[in-house]
Amino acid sequence: MLESEFMRLAFATGAVVGLLAPAVGFFLVQRNMSLVGDGVGHTAFAGVAAGYLLGVSPVLTALVAAVAGAVGIEWLRSRRQAAGDQALALLFYTGLALGVVLASSAGALNVNLFAFLFGSILTVTREDLVVVAVLGAAGLATVALLYRALVGVVVDEEGARVAGVPVIPLNVLVAGLAGLTIGLSMQIVGILLIAALMVLPVIASVRVAWSMRSSILLAMAIGLASVFAGLTIAYYGDLPPGGAIVLVAAGAFLVTSLVDAVRRRG
């Protein structure tokens, strides 16, 4: 399998995505914002379509649209212009509608677009890998550097706000990282399924972890394992990688739930 360059590129990109998606998704799940990734994914879809229409890299336009969408949703939420689920609905439907209209205008409602929606191991180029590796490493470094601050806001947002911790900028940063993650992950996992890779490893890990730190590290390990196993299954089964990766992550959730249930009975 790894004799093929496209698989080596897919695995290398997938390694970054598998670590980054749960690391960022952890802070969304902890703040009851598990579905934000879905809303941002639909904005990324509009970005891909805009890329086709403008004749520039759809990856780049999707990245910009995803970050802008994620920051926008956090802005609406923090200024109480809309409740969290309303802001999400606004983004979700507007992104999807805009994507369909733009893609149709560009004459791009075709198989290429499907690769972005559900992921494709054939679409990753060396240039893509460089972008994913550089931006992904920057995203992971940001999470590592601000880990204590992000956990502090999760544990007690109001207490942090009272003590003068810059809660709103930290929340906007998490939203921006979510947009970045979705933009980087869409070729491997697909726009419609990337949110699952941000959430499923996290809700799997918290069932067996014993601390915040162990939760996020275990979620990253599950994310990485899901990507590697999912890509392997997709290669040998000739399946879309996004679906295979997310089903493996869902399987991890079942396993940890079972372990948790057995532990509680014991």
């Binding site: 799940v29 902890q30 703040r31 009851n32 550097l145 601000l146 204590r148 601050a149 956990v151 502090g152 999760v154 544990v155 007690d156 947002e157 109001e158 207490g159 942090a160 706000r161 009272v162 003590a163 003068g164 911790v165 810059p166 930290l170 890990s205 918290v206 972890a209 014993w210 601390s211 915040m212 730190r213 162990s214 939760s215």
Partner: protein
């Protein structure tokens, strides 16, 4: 004695024509331990939010340590313990992780805690009697122990003003009084200005120097011993014996 909190002729309404607080005057000196009590919906939490500068009054002025509350420059000096139901996060979090979060404003946002900050976190855990549970998930502790962890979190920030908003909600009467004794000891040791906000104030009646009753305005402000009998908290009759 300089003032820690000062509200002068403060009124506040969330909607026009529906005042929550009217013409409130309150001055809390540095080092005081004050219970702010009153029925649910009486305006206690609003008063606290105004005092902390989280809300702006419709009229009047609010000052923290002599500065306008909404522009207070030393926010790291403020400790806050919210109602348990408002505390966030899903999944496991250890006592030590909770208390370390209290060091955020003082210890900086970036990277791991320094050795001095870690020592302060350990001392705060020790002070509330949770050293044996420092690595335990919070969910495995009783309601009273969980509140102790959040009190340790507030003290880890070495606050000049500590505000506890309904800290004993959902905690049994025995644990409430145990928490009150802990707060009394910590207050004596550190002389932190403390505002204890609760509709169940019986547990602290015998400890605080001053009780403020809030019902749309301040209807009583004085030593608990002088509180008219009909306003005593019936859930803790033995606290006054």
């Amino acid at each position: 004695m300089p003032l820690a909190v000062e509200l002068e002729d403060v009124s506040f309404a969330y909607r026009p024509g529906q005042p929550v607080l009217t013409n409130v005057d309150l001055a809390v000196e540095e080092g005081e331990f004050v219970a702010v009590a009153g029925p649910n919906g009486g305006g206690k939490t609003t008063l606290v939010r105004l005092a902390l500068g989280l809300s702006r009054p419709g009229s009047g002025s609010v000052r923290l340590f002599g500065e306008p509350a909404h522009r207070f420059s030393r926010r790291a000096a403020l400790g806050y313990v919210a109602q348990r139901a408002q505390l966030g996060g899903h999944g496991p979090v250890t006592v030590r992780e909770v208390v370390a979060a209290g060091r955020l404003a003082q210890g900086g946002l970036l990277g791991p805690l320094r050795a001095r900050d870690r020592a302060i976190v350990d001392a705060a855990i020790d002070d509330v009697g949770l050293s044996d549970h420092a690595r335990a998930p919070l969910s495995e502790l009783s309601g009273g122990q969980q509140q102790r962890a959040f009190i340790a979190k507030a003290f880890a920030g070495e606050p000049s003003l500590l505000v506890l908003d309904e800290p004993t909600a959902g905690v049994d009467a025995e644990s409430q009084e145990s928490l009150a004794r802990l707060l009394d000891r910590l207050h004596r040791d550190r002389r932190v200005t403390t505002l204890y906000v609760s509709h169940e104030f019986g547990a602290v009646e015998g400890i605080v120097e001053r009780l403020v009753l809030v019902r749309g305005g301040i209807v009583f402000d004085g030593p608990p011993a002088t509180l008219p009998s009909e306003w005593h908290d019936p859930s803790h009759a033995h606290a006054r014996e």
